[in-house]
Structures are given as structure tokens and as C-alpha cells.
């Protein structure tokens, strides 16, 4: 198939439809409104259902119901709306339901702003809702990658019976780039024989549930989920490493920010500064081993994490490199986007401090 020029938000929606998603439940919020609008138009044509819920709370619970009924289903929102969905997300994780949740992040806290941000990292990878659980969190940095990860995300969700989040930001959602929707091979996925479809006695009665009133039973349930997480860590962790082989400074950034870092790296290269980039593609599971490997190299003098937040992913970077190398941070927040020149200045500062 040839390339088409598409807005990030619309590309997410089209990718989902092409991945077989036929149910979308959402509520309006900027800057992700093109996703529900696209779904409202296209899903009926594809034999699916779009429903604008009365709230984000209702939307995520509709996702719960549809996922429990065996459907490939998704929702999308932006930061304040994702906060509202956290209750449902916890239940979905607890009941082990597969679904895709898109967060096109905007500045916070509170109502915050509507410009791009990455300040929902903690919420996305460290829990967000209550209880022991994780989402698989995928962080695309181009629209093509967003398309690929939406499709991959549905498969990961189905394979492990776990909610998957696409963590984008307002910039990725709003910008246009050429994308290609390739005929893709789906994974070999387990049958959804646990779904509520009406019980005719040909399988065990399906009960979708996250309530385990006996603490030992609940602990067993959580342990089972965590064994699944070990599998996900082993099989699904993804990161891009760029120019790390001879880097003195390794910058770490994800999503949009990683692209801006790449511009800063070009500027650094012109000045003869050797800068590498580790771009986590899965934020959970975090590519800890990748950081550990590079932290052991002698030529790497320091790490610099750049985020559109006050410093969230940097905690995981610091934990991963385990004190082997200094860990620095540079960030802008509230919808302010770091520019390549500022990042270069930080790189030079870090380099000076470690020279």
C-alpha cells in the first residue's frame, strides 16, 4: 500500500480499525478529539460501534463490558480524562481484560493546559489506579510508529489478557506525517474462551471479575498476574539505541522529545560532541537491561534524561544505571517544548561537568 499523509490522531484510529478494533467508547477532550471523530465516521462503515459516553468513567466501563464480552475494543482520552478512567483501568487489569487505551498527554496537574506534555509518565507506568498491576505502555515517536504500535498493542493485549496504553502527546496527535498501512501478520493469539458470550454449557461459566474477598485467593491471583508480567518483560521490552557505540553522553528520551533530541544530536555532531540516544519504546516494561549495558561502557561518561515533565522517567533511568554513571535531567513542562539548542546546551553542561 502507498503512503498517505495523516494526522497522528486519525492514524491511531485508522490503525485500530485495520487491527480489527470494532468498538470505541470515549468522551471529548482536547487534544485527542480527532480520534473519536474519526471512529464515529468510520466504525459504522466497518460494521462496528462508536459510542460517545456520558463521561470518561462510563467510557472505560463500557470498554470493560465490551472487552469482557470478547471484543477488540479501545478508548482514548487526554490526561484529565485518563485520571477519571483510572478506576476502570484498575478493574480491567484486575479482571485481566485486553483493551487499548490511548493517552494523548497534555500539561497538568489539574485542568492544566492543552499543549503537549509527558507528565503522565508516573501515572502510566507506576500504576495510576489502585492495586498491584501494570499496563503495557507503548511510546511511539513518529506517526508511522504510532500506527505500528497500535496494531502491536492490540495483539499484546490479547496475548497476555492485559490492558495496553499508547502514550502519545498533543504534538504527535496533531501533526501529520506520511504513513503506510501494511498488511500485517497478527500474532497467534489464544482463543477468548473466557469471554461472556452467553453460556450454553460447552465451556466453564464465564465470570469477569476482580473481586477476591479471601486474601489468600487474591494473593494467588495477583501472583498469577505478576508471572504474566515477567513474561511480558522477557518478550516485549523495546528500545531504540542510536549512536551509542562511541557516545560520551547518552541522552534518554521517549516519544516526541526523542525526536527533538535527535535534532540536538545533529547539532552536537557538528560540534564534534559524541552523543548517543536510548529511546525506550516500551515505558513499561522499561528497558532496564539496555541502560545497564551502556552504563558499563567506559566511553560513556554520563546520562542525560530529557522529558516534557519535571523529571519522571529519569527515576527509572537512574535506577537502571545503578550509580555506575551520573544521571542528569533536563525538562520543560506545562506544555512548553524543549528546543534542540537548549538540549545541546544541557549536553555541553553535562559534558563539562564530567570532563
Amino acid at each position: 500500500m502507498s503512503k498517505v499523509l495523516m494526522k497522528g490522531n486519525e492514524a491511531i484510529a485508522e490503525a485500530a480499525i485495520q487491527a480489527g478494533c470494532r468498538y470505541f467508547f470515549g468522551y471529548p477532550i482536547t487534544p485527542q478529539n480527532e480520534i473519536p471523530a474519526y471512529m464515529a465516521k468510520r466504525l459504522p462503515q466497518a460494521g462496528g460501534t462508536f459510542l460517545q459516553a456520558e463521561s470518561e468513567v462510563a467510557a472505560i466501563n463500557m470498554v470493560y463490558g465490551a472487552a469482557g464480552a470478547g471484543a477488540r475494543v479501545m478508548t482514548s482520552s487526554s490526561s484529565p480524562g485518563i485520571s477519571l478512567k483510572q478506576e476502570g483501568i484498575s478493574y480491567i487489569a484486575g479482571a485481566e481484560l485486553p483493551c487499548l487505551i490511548v493517552n494523548i498527554v497534555r500539561g497538568g496537574p489539574g485542568l492544566g493546559g492543552i499543549q503537549p506534555a509527558q507528565s503522565d509518565y508516573f501515572q502510566s507506568v507506576k500504576g495510576g489506579g489502585h492495586g498491584d498491576y501494570h499496563l503495557v505502555v507503548l511510546a511511539p515517536s513518529t506517526i508511522q510508529e504510532m500506527v505500528d504500535l497500535v496494531q502491536e498493542g492490540f495483539d499484546i493485549a490479547d496475548q497476555y489478557r492485559n490492558p495496553v496504553m499508547i502514550l502519545g502527546d498533543g504534538m504527535l496527535g496533531q501533526m501529520m506525517e506520511p504513513v503506510e498501512f501494511e498488511e500485517r501478520k497478527s500474532r497467534r493469539l489464544p482463543p477468548k474462551d473466557w469471554a461472556t458470550t452467553g453460556w450454553k454449557g460447552d465451556r466453564p461459566r464465564a465470570v469477569i471479575n476482580s473481586l477476591f474477598i479471601n486474601p489468600q485467593v487474591l494473593e494467588n491471583h495477583v501472583n498469577k498476574i505478576y508471572r504474566k508480567y515477567q513474561e511480558i518483560k522477557a518478550n516485549e521490552t523495546m528500545a531504540e539505541c542510536c549512536n551509542c557505540e562511541d557516545a560520551e553522553i547518552i541522552v534518554s528520551a521517549y516519544g516526541t522529545t526523542a525526536r527533538i533530541v535527535k535534532s540536538a544530536m545533529e547539532m552536537a555532531a557538528r560540534k564534534g560532541i559524541k552523543v548517543g540516544l536510548i529511546r525506550p519504546i516500551t515505558l513499561w516494561p522499561f528497558p532496564t537491561e539496555t541502560f545497564q549495558e551502556w552504563a558499563q561502557r567506559d566511553h560513556v561518561k554520563a546520562f542525560l534524561t530529557v522529558e516534557m515533565s519535571m523529571g519522571q522517567m529519569v527515576e527509572d533511568v537512574t535506577l537502571s544505571i545503578g550509580g555506575k554513571k551520573p544521571s542528569h535531567f533536563y525538562g520543560r513542562t506545562g506544555g512548553m517544548v524543549p528546543n534542540p539548542a537548549d538540549i545541546l546546551a544541557e549536553i555541553e553542561k553535562v559534558r563539562g561537568g564530567n570532563a
Partner: protein, 245 residues
């Protein structure tokens, strides 16, 4: 010897956790009987609430989903949109439906979701230990209205059925009671009719069942039934509130 009375097939044969004298057991049975009579058990998917009926998924002998507090209508909408030919019902108490889930029930009704809601109104929170519900009567004493519910501070009891009956999407809404045999028979008819309306694809259906909570009302089961009759029915008049032609 011919059996003249047996457990409905739509009810699982295990002991229920409900308190002695609680009417949940009766209503469970009525729902199950209606499912049996309409022969819809194999295509029914139920949604359990948070509240005393939280374990309903252990009792109804069909596929079930357990919802977050108040969200059963949203969960049911999700299920029904995926399986429009199945029968989907929610079973919810007054705290779940009329307080924390007020938005979900209003909008499910307004969209005319083709689901059936069995709404247990016993004017109190049971599971959490007898707190004030949106349907608690004026002057009724609860753990969180120890001086009796006062309209100046706690507002008035919500008449859910009358409120939802104003919505175009609601196809059938009736309030019934289970305080005596005559009314139990009537309640069963209403639940069955709600399922029939759903099968006919007419829209949202709800049966509000006035129920008792002897434990948290601090009464014997017999006193509770009389209290329901004397206090609840005058404020919550029985009957059909909406019936789409």
C-alpha cells in the same frame, strides 16, 4: 412423586450470603424464574453491582460480569453493543444505582440501551453497614444520618422510577414490592415483562423493587416487611411508570 417446586435452573445451588429475612434472595429467584420461563438463560449475561449483591455472579447460573461501583449500566452497554442478540441485565442497589451510578443509569436509560435493570431499593446501604442512601426516607435514622434524614441538609429521597420515566429512551419502568405474596407475584410479572421488552428490542427497561434490610433497619424480618408497607410505599407509589406502546 411430581415435583411442584424446585430451584430455577438459572440459579446456582449454593448457599447465599444474604442476611436472614433479606429480600435479595426472593428477587434473585424472581429474576431466575423469569429467565427460565423465557428460556433465555443460555443467552443472558448479567452484571453484578458493588453492594450487598456484589456476589450475584456466584448465584446466577449464566455468564456474568462484576462491575465497579455504580458502573453496571455502562458495563452492560458495552456488552450489549458487542452482543445485541443476547439478553443483558444489571442488578443494582440504591447506593450503586441512585448515588454513585446516577449518571450511568440516567444515560443508559436516555440512550435507550436495550438492557434490563433490576433496582433494589431498600432505603439504605447494606454492605457497608447501614449508611444513608439517596432513597433513605425523611427522618429515617441511619449510621450517617443519626438524627434522621433532614431535607435541609440531606435533601429528599429520590424517586428513581419516576425520574427515569421522563426519558424518551426508557421503554418500560415499573415499581414493585416484595413485602407479601401478592406483590411478589406482581414483581415477577414485571421482571418478566422487562425481559420481554428487551427481547423485542424496545429500549431501556427497569424494575424498581422495594425491599427490606432487617439487619441495618434494626428490625425483625416481619417488622421490616410491615415497615416497608407502611413507610416506603406511601412515598414510593407502586405501579407502571412508563410503558412504551
Amino acid at each position: 412423586m411430581a415435583k411442584v417446586f424446585e430451584r430455577p435452573k438459572s440459579l446456582i445451588d449454593i448457599p447465599m450470603h444474604y442476611c436472614p429475612g433479606c429480600t435479595h434472595g426472593i428477587v434473585h429467584r424472581l429474576v431466575a424464574e423469569a429467565m427460565d420461563e423465557l428460556n433465555i438463560r443460555e443467552k443472558t449475561i448479567g452484571v453484578a453491582p458493588v453492594g450487598c449483591a456484589v456476589f450475584a455472579y456466584d448465584y446466577f447460573n449464566c455468564d456474568m460480569q462484576e462491575a465497579a461501583h455504580g458502573r453496571a449500566p455502562a458495563v452492560a452497554a458495552g456488552i450489549k453493543r458487542v452482543h445485541p442478540d443476547n439478553v443483558v441485565f444489571t442488578y443494582q442497589g440504591d447506593g450503586d444505582l441512585a448515588s454513585i451510578g446516577a449518571a450511568e443509569i440516567v444515560h443508559a436509560a436516555n440512550r435507550g440501551e436495550k438492557i434490563t435493570t433490576v433496582f433494589i431499593n431498600n432505603a439504605i446501604y447494606g454492605m457497608t453497614g447501614g449508611q444513608m442512601a439517596p432513597t433513605t426516607l425523611l427522618d429515617q435514622v441511619t449510621a450517617t444520618s443519626p438524627y434522621g434524614r433532614k431535607p435541609e441538609t440531606e435533601g429528599y429521597p429520590i424517586r428513581v422510577s419516576e425520574m427515569l420515566a421522563t426519558l424518551e429512551g426508557a421503554a418500560y419502568i415499573e415499581r414493585v414490592s416484595v413485602h407479601d405474596i401478592k406483590h411478589i407475584v406482581r414483581a415477577k410479572k414485571a421482571i418478566r415483562k422487562a425481559f420481554e421488552y428487551q427481547l423485542e428490542g424496545r429500549g431501556f427497561t427497569l424494575v424498581e423493587v422495594l425491599s427490606t434490610c432487617p439487619t441495618n433497619w434494626g428490625m425483625t424480618p416481619a417488622e421490616s416487611l410491615k415497615w416497608l408497607q407502611d413507610n416506603m410505599i406511601p412515598y414510593y407509589p407502586l405501579g407502571v411508570k412508563k410503558e412504551a406502546k
